[in-house]
């Protein structure tokens, strides 16, 4: 279903009523079901989106790097306004949350090709070239990988990878041996939940049902994260091989890479690598000459939805449905994709697994600190001179990292994106490890670090996050759907200077209610940074409220409230 929808969207710029009818007939569904799927994903449209569809990233990092300027320029140059197309239907302008290019903002996608480090002149030239009929692909940028740092002993992730090397060793170790290696290396899920990888694989392996599936979650939607982009771009082989190891260990026959729609431009690279593997006899039947091991991999495109990074929502999406998270009635390892046992891991986890098996767990555990061995990729962006990927040994302090990236007067550091934790510069000696920062309970963390300087307005940052969650909630559970909306309204009040102490107390209480009652990680973590920020920056929040806290009169902006009526003044 998703493939058909993509095909139509790319060909016609929209999915028409006629298409909906056709799809419903082909899949034996009611039209409303097809419409439900289409309307869930923001890269699918029901109205034409122009010959050139431009998605400008509106994340907070982009905002700080001049997003508004680009937005204005785009509107002026194309003659379209955001959310629609121009009269001739040549250009369509849309906003989209983080597109995984936080290290080279402001950035945009034009017909799903990346354009990075935008400025007014570049926008002007690009639009002019497109008007002259230039090819989008040839105009597009090839985003820099920006790998800035590797451990002193050499990189683990970014060495060249010889296809088949890990698999050959795995064949010697046997399935049990592979799990044993991962256990020794204490590898845990790098999507952010940090569940021990060997346990997950082992659980899937002990399920009676077949076929079993291996799914790679390449839907890193957390604003500020882009490590998977760089891994896919530079290391497709180790990703593929990591998935194969998993397939070998759990007895799966098919692997699927769920690639986020924003990374459509990376799909050819993945497909090429997969084809090379097939040609080398490493994928397909009897992979790598291992008797009885048949395994193949395909890439499935997502279509713009943050919540699909949640593993069960991702499964729904893979099945061509709306990306609504399932309840925890079953775990994916019991009943996952098509109700069959399924292992879902992040790109980085598979890459790490391939490296661990390639070199052996002992070499890997030499790095890092006790209880948290090995290395971790961090996506660093924001107010620093050297944004990019930092491959750190676990245990590095925040202070060291800030120095490496040449942070500019850092004050407020957002760890793990909007759903993570924010820390103050006062906490800079905390260690980044699975024991402290990054893997605390209830916080998902893919490992993004956004640095904000003292000049940035914290309330605006949080408001940007709230708006993100408000529109990215899947909308089926009450606390997340309504709660994020309510929190966003309240933050607006705070931003407009109308809030008092009671409003702050309520924000915190309501945030906790959402955390305790939401259905999936999105709602549970949506208010994390807000709650942390209010604790750590209490003084700052105090400066933003109406001090007259005991007043029986609340602040009310009468001028704003009567503005609409004033236009009838004769």
């Amino acid at each position: 279903m998703m493939d058909r929808l993509w095909e139509l969207q790319l060909k016609n710029g929209c999915i028409s009523d006629h298409d909906i009818k056709q799809l419903a007939a082909d899949f034996g569904l009611a039209e409303i079901e097809v419409e439900g799927v289409v309307s869930f994903y923001h890269f699918f449209h029901r109205k034409p989106t122009g010959r050139y569809t431009i998605y400008l990233n509106n994340s907070i990092v982009a905002d700080h790097k001049g997003y508004n300027r680009i937005k204005e320029t785009l509107e002026r140059e194309t003659g379209a306004t955001f959310g629609s197309t121009d009269r001739t239907n040549t250009f369509g302008l849309f906003e989209t949350p983080c597109i995984g290019l936080s290290d080279q903002e402001p950035s945009a996608l034009i017909n799903f090709y990346p354009f990075t480090n935008l400025n007014a002149i570049k926008v002007k030239d690009t639009i002019a070239a497109l008007r002259r009929g230039a090819d989008v692909e040839s105009l597009a940028d090839l985003p820099a990988d920006n790998i800035r740092y590797a451990p002193p002993g050499g990189t683990v992730f970014f060495r060249p990878f010889t296809p088949g090397s890990a698999l050959t060793r795995a064949a010697k170790l046997g399935a049990d041996g592979v799990l044993e290696e991962l256990k020794k290396a204490e590898l845990s899920g790098r999507g952010g939940a940090y569940y021990p990888t060997w346990k997950k694989w082992n659980a899937a392996r002990s399920q009676p049902a077949t076929p079993r599936y291996v799914v790679c979650n390449a839907d890193e939607g957390e604003p500020g994260t882009f490590k998977d982009r760089v891994l896919i771009s530079t290391q497709p082989e180790s990703l593929i091989e990591g998935m194969m190891l998993c397939g070998y260990a759990v007895g799966a026959t098919e692997g699927i890479i769920y690639l986020r729609g924003e990374y459509r431009w990376l799909k050819p690279r993945l497909d090429d690598a997969i084809n090379r593997y097939r040609a080398a006899g490493l994928l397909g039947k009897i992979c790598g000459n291992i008797q009885g091991f048949d395994f193949d991999i395909r890439v499935q495109m997502g279509a713009g939805s943050y919540v699909c990074g949640e593993e069960t929502a991702l499964l729904e999406s893979l099945e061509g449905k709306r990306g609504e998270p399932r309840t925890k009635w079953f775990f994916p390892v019991e009943k996952g994709y098509l109700q069959q046992p399924t292992v879902i891991n992040n790109v980085e986890t598979f890459c790490a697994a391939a490296r661990i098996v390639e070199t052996g767990a002992d070499a890997y555990t030499q790095l890092g600190i006790p209880g948290s061995p090995g290395v971790k990729l961090l996506s660093v962006s924001g107010d620093c001179r050297l944004p990019g990927i930092y491959e750190i040994e676990w245990g590095m302090t925040v202070a060291e990292l800030l120095e490496l990236c040449e942070a500019d007067d850092p004050y407020y550091i957002q760890v793990s994106g909007p759903s993570g934790e924010c820390i103050s510069i006062k906490d800079k000696y905390r260690r980044i490890s699975m024991l402290d920062l990054l893997a605390r309970k209830d916080i998902r963390s893919g490992g993004s670090i956004m640095v904000f300087s003292r000049q940035r307005d914290l309330v605006k940052v949080l408001l940007n996050f709230a708006e993100f969650f408000k529109s990215e909630s899947c909308g089926i559970c009450t606390p997340c759907r309504a709660g994020n909306f309510i929190i966003q309204r309240k933050l607006e009040r705070l931003n407009n200077g109308l809030a008092n102490q009671q409003d702050l107390d309520e924000l915190k209480q309501w945030g906790l209610i959402m955390k305790n009652t939401s259905r999936c990680g999105l709602g549970k973590t949506a208010t994390n940074s807000l709650i942390f920020a209010m604790d750590k920056f209490a003084d700052y929040f105090h400066t933003r409220i109406d001090k007259d806290a005991h007043s029986l009169n609340l602040k009310f902006d009468l001028e704003a409230a009567t503005e609409a009526y004033e236009k009838y003044k004769p």
């Binding site: 039209e31 309840t327 089926i476 309204r489 609409a564």
Partner: protein, 424 residues
């Protein structure tokens, strides 16, 4: 062979069948866990409304997605959990546009009922007033999107004979709504359509012509609470210091219909007692235009729709020790707030220029410096000043008003019976 396991709910040991849904086990043992989306025969459970959230083995989890297993320890009735559940129901009221007095489902509505059971008298959240369009296009049904709580029951349950869905979620985030397929809807039998209306926990799915088949007074939730200990739970002991001497009361109707004042008069013969005990200062009952003294209690009917309302309300706050919101309009905007999701210009143009009763060629929308300025939307009183108490209802029952006021003034014990905590 059914395997029995031991679990503990609120300190009480219970034996139950292993793997059975916790909601069912609790119900069989007379323990009330509120829920709006749960249906025993839907598996896996929907888990969308989250009002059954409990603490299970120390973690917050909805009861409906929990399979009973040996040693399970569940907390249901703690003050914190009860408040959390109440908050979730309040959230639904704040998110939708629920106008119970104008709803066909009133009295048969699970959401409204849950509001009563949990003692919701006002929502702590600001009402969001999202513009939602009522869909009249289906051949037999009306989709009232204002009332939908997105519980997913109809999405999963209502299917045509050949297994096609009739309802499906559309969009996502705060734009989510449940769409209806016109073609499939037409293929449902009459019985299936009526069933769809009944499984809807609110009045979002209405089948034309049969929505009012049970008259008010004979509806599901009219008189009895499902909680045997409801009245005990609702007992609130609020001792206030008694005020000596005759009490002074002020009342006002802002953007309201004077219905709450009418209800006040319905106190009937007790009015005679009342005049012995209280005297009225500024009030439509006395026609005093300004305050002549400080008042013990101020009763405010109606929300705030213009600049004069803002001023009057601020005066009330200044002159009254206790300020009480009386009725729905005052609490969150009520009926007048139906305009909140529509731009002001559209409302004014409709009222003064384009309505059936406006004169041909009318071109003037009144504006004069002596006239109060109309606000962009109707605000709840507690958005302008601090409100101490809320008396809900449209209008609140006379006896309830009297009882509440009496309790506030003389600091008596305060408890509401289920039958009194009903407002339609």
């Amino acid at each position: 062979m059914k395997q029995l396991v031991n679990i503990i709910i609120d300190g009480k040991s219970i034996q139950a069948e292993k793997g059975k849904n916790l909601m069912l086990v609790a119900k069989e043992n007379g323990i009330f866990i509120p829920s709006l989306c749960y249906y025993p025969h839907i598996e896996p459970p929907l888990g969308t409304c989250r009002t059954c959230t409990c603490k299970i083995n120390g973690r917050y989890q909805p009861a409906c997605t929990e399979k009973v297993d040996e040693g399970l320890t569940v907390e249901v009735n703690t003050p914190e959990l009860n408040d959390t559940r109440k908050a979730l129901v309040e959230m639904m009221f704040a998110e939708g546009n629920h106008i119970c007095p104008a709803c066909e489902k009133s009295g048969n509505c699970d959401l409204q009922h849950m509001g009563y059971e949990l003692g919701v008298s006002s929502t702590r959240f600001p009402h969001l007033f999202k513009d939602r369009v009522v869909d009249f296009k289906p051949s037999r049904m009306v989709m009232e999107h204002n009332r939908c709580i997105k519980c997913m029951r109809c999405v999963v349950e209502v299917k045509t004979n050949d297994g096609r869905q009739v309802f499906e979620y559309q969009n996502r985030g705060n734009e989510t709504y449940v769409g209806i397929d016109y073609e499939q809807e037409a293929r449902l039998s009459e019985e299936q359509a009526v069933n769809a209306m009944h499984i809807c926990p609110t009045g979002a799915i209405i089948v034309r012509g049969v929505s009012m088949s049970a008259p008010f007074g004979e509806r599901r939730y009219d008189m009895e609470s499902v909680q045997h200990d409801y009245n005990k739970k609702r007992q609130q002991h609020r001792k206030r210091e008694a005020v000596m001497g005759k009490k002074i009361v002020a009342t006002v109707s802002l953007a309201g219909c004077f219905g709450c004042h009418m209800s006040l008069l319905d106190v009937d013969t007790e009015l005679l007692d009342l005049v012995e005990l209280v005297s009225f200062d500024k009030s439509p009952l006395t026609d005093f235009k300004t305050f002549t003294s400080r008042c013990h209690i101020g009763l405010v009917e109606g929300g705030v729709c213009n600049s004069e309302n803002v001023e009057t309300l601020r005066k009330f706050r200044e002159h009254c020790d206790i300020l009480v919101s009386l009725g729905e309009c005052s609490i969150w905007g009520g009926l007048p707030s139906m305009r909140n999701s529509i731009p002001l210009s559209e409302c004014l143009e409709e009222a003064y220029l384009n309505s059936a009763t406006s004169e041909a060629g009318a071109s003037i929308i009144p504006y004069h410096e002596d006239l109060p300025k109309i606000l962009d939307r109707v605000y709840a009183c507690n958005e302008i000043v601090k409100i101490d108490y809320h008396i809900p209802g449209c209008p609140p029952d006379a006896n309830h008003i009297w009882k509440a006021v009496k309790n506030l003034l003389w600091g008596e014990e305060y408890s509401i019976l289920y039958s009194e905590f009903k407002y339609d």
